[in-house]
């Protein structure tokens, strides 16, 4: 074996080099990205807090006590109390449960519809693809907010209507992304080879095209969720979200808004949680995208 190769690989030759897997590489590169890891840790903490928070304090999220209203953080109430004397640590955690639940479910719905639509369009191609894309173009022209408001007024308050209002416009972008990716992949040689070997259409899609779109789908997911969080908070703030005494971060902000001139803490608290969660999702999403892209240089 030439000396140069021996120096590089050791005496055993190239066979002695450990084979990496694609996802193994992705995990390794992701873990080297400090911002992304920080984001991931914060997200895990956030989810843990939302689930476990209400259990570790002795207060219920609807326990009123006007005598202790408007307290700033102290030893008994770690985040203070709101205008009705309800403990904010517990309420913010409950809010987190609802906001995160809505955000994740809405993203799930959006991605399912988007992936289905996009992969059909991309795979079928030709005129069907054209028509499907035209439909998307037309829907893109609709202003999202007025329709979301009307929908919520019709369907009333609650988690399901909020899901619908958030999802019904957002599926367009993932659909386009997936379709674009499938169109590119379709031209690849391994697809041609598989087809030449007699693979059925279904096999082509499930075994070859979809797994390679997975990366794009995950990236889309990480970038959709913060939008959902902000969207839900926004609609709830306008008064269209879930009804009291249930809470989401948006409704907590709404309640904070009513007294903020004298007690700004009530509106800052959910704001901080929303911002931190959104930022963490962005970091994780960016980190994942960089980890998956083979062109990104490793530092």
């Amino acid at each position: 074996m030439p000396l140069s190769m021996e120096k590089k690989y050791g005496a055993g030759g190239p066979a002695a080099v450990r084979q990496g897997t694609l996802w193994g590489d992705v995990v390794r590169r992701f873990s080297r990205n400090r911002a992304a890891m920080l984001g991931l840790i914060i997200l895990v903490l956030m989810i843990t807090y939302s689930v476990v928070g209400p259990w570790i304090r002795p207060y219920g999220y609807a326990d009123l006590d006007w005598s202790i209203a408007y307290q700033l953080p102290n030893v008994q109430h770690w985040f203070g109390t709101d205008m009705f004397g309800r403990d904010l640590f517990v309420r913010t955690a409950m809010g987190g449960r609802v906001s995160l639940l809505i955000a994740f479910s809405a993203t799930g719905v959006v991605l399912s519809i988007g992936v289905l639509y996009g992969s059909l369009a991309g795979f079928l191609g030709g005129r069907t693809d054209n028509v499907m894309m035209r439909i998307i173009d037309v829907l893109y022209g609709l202003p999202y907010l007025p329709f979301a408001i009307i929908l919520l007024v019709i369907l009333g308050s609650g988690i399901a209507p909020m899901l619908l209002a958030l999802a019904f416009v957002s599926w367009l972008t993932p659909a386009r992304l997936v379709r674009g990716q499938i169109l590119t992949l379709k031209e690849n040689e391994y697809v041609e080879a598989a087809r030449a070997l007699g693979a059925s259409r279904r096999r082509l899609v499930t075994r070859h095209l979809l797994p390679n779109t997975f990366g794009i789908i995950v990236i889309a997911m990480f970038l959709e969720v913060p939008g959902m969080i902000l969207g839900e908070a926004f609609l709830s703030f306008l008064g269209l979200g879930i009804s009291a005494p249930d809470a989401s971060w948006g409704t907590l902000a709404q309640e904070g808004w009513q007294g903020f001139r004298s007690h700004p803490w009530l509106i800052m608290l959910p704001g901080i949680f929303i911002a931190v969660t959104v930022i963490s999702f962005n970091f994780v999403g960016d980190g994942f995208r960089d980890a998956i892209d083979p062109r990104t240089k490793e530092t």
Binding site: L145, V153, I267, I274
Partner: protein, 305 residues
């Protein structure tokens, strides 16, 4: 080029028709009507009111009648504020919203784009990190948090600026800053990313290798090409300005379209809701159209599409 424009313009028509149709159907789906409010009206009076506004006709008749009248510039009368026509309401509120939107957009560009450019040119220095920090924060903290915080600091505590309504230039400052901050954060991020990518391109390296001074290369090649994606993203940004302005108008009691919207929907004021929604959609459609055409003008590669 002209073909592109014509094609795009023609496509806006089905979009607008769809919007009117959807809004119409959705409004009809809301239980109750504009007159089933708190005071229970005797059924004969209710029937009369409905007949006067044509609400007793079958839905397709109402829809067609609406389109016909709209094409003649008659958008109807507000059902809750009976002395005002929809057109009146819109022409009072729209300029205010437009004003706010343009100022916020301008602020976003003036702060965001230079910040992005500087960040890209000074990549990986403290200027870059500061810009990224600002961009991330500006985008993640929602409007309805930034607004009240600004009000608290500048109006309540410092007393420098007023808290609400729209009576003079001091009143414009806080709402514009609130709406513009998120925009500028977005622009900064976008511009920076685009410039970083352009700076890696081969033709930039060639220009530098040819001996052109760095500054010339940046101004003549990099800047122009980096700004294209920024402009094409401006379409969805208009949507953002519209949704953002709803909140900002709500928080600062600015008498624009957004402030009206939620209350008129809850009051089932059909005519106003239809008018507002159609107007907003027309705006979005027009903005997308302009952006598409602009894209064609700026990027010769897609003209031959």
């Amino acid at each position: 080029m002209a073909k592109l424009i014509v094609r795009r313009v023609i496509w806006t028509i089905p979009v607008l028709l769809l919007v009117v149709f959807l809004t119409f159907i959705l409004m009809k789906a809301i239980p109750g009507g504009p007159f089933t409010g708190e005071k229970a009206l005797p059924p004969e009076i209710l029937a009369n009111m409905n007949a006067k506004y044509g609400l007793d006709a079958p839905w397709y008749e109402q829809y067609l009648r609406y389109i016909w009248r709209a094409l003649h510039g008659d958008l109807g009368v507000s059902m809750t504020q009976k002395s005002r026509t929809v057109l009146d309401i819109i022409s009072d509120a729209f300029p205010v919203s437009l004003h706010l939107g343009i100022m916020a957009f301008g602020l976003g560009i003036i702060i965001g784009v230079p910040a992005g450019i500087v960040a890209a040119l000074k990549h990986n220095t403290w200027a870059d990190y500061a810009a990224i920090f600002y961009a991330t924060l500006g985008w993640a903290v929602p409007n309805f948090i930034v607004g009240p915080i600004l009000i608290y600091i500048f109006a309540v505590k410092l007393g420098w600026l007023p808290t609400s309504t729209w009576h003079g230039w001091q009143y414009w400052v806080l709402p514009t800053v609130t709406l513009g901050t998120a925009l500028s954060a977005y622009f900064a991020r976008l511009t920076r990313g685009s410039m970083l990518e352009t700076l890696q391109q081969d033709y930039v390296r060639t220009a530098l290798a040819k001996g052109l001074p760095y500054r010339t290369v940046v101004v003549k090649h990099v800047l122009r090409n980096s700004l294209i994606p920024v402009i094409t993203q401006a379409g969805p940004l208009l949507g953002f300005v519209i949704t953002g302005s709803f909140l900002v108008e709500f928080i600062f009691s600015v008498p624009g379209l957004g402030k009206y919207y939620v209350s008129t929907v809850s009051n089932r004021d059909y005519s106003v809701v239809m008018g507002l929604t159609v107007l907003l959609s027309a705006l979005v459609v027009a903005a997308n159209l302009v952006v598409d055409i602009l894209y064609g003008v700026l990027d010769p590669r897609i003209r031959n599409d």
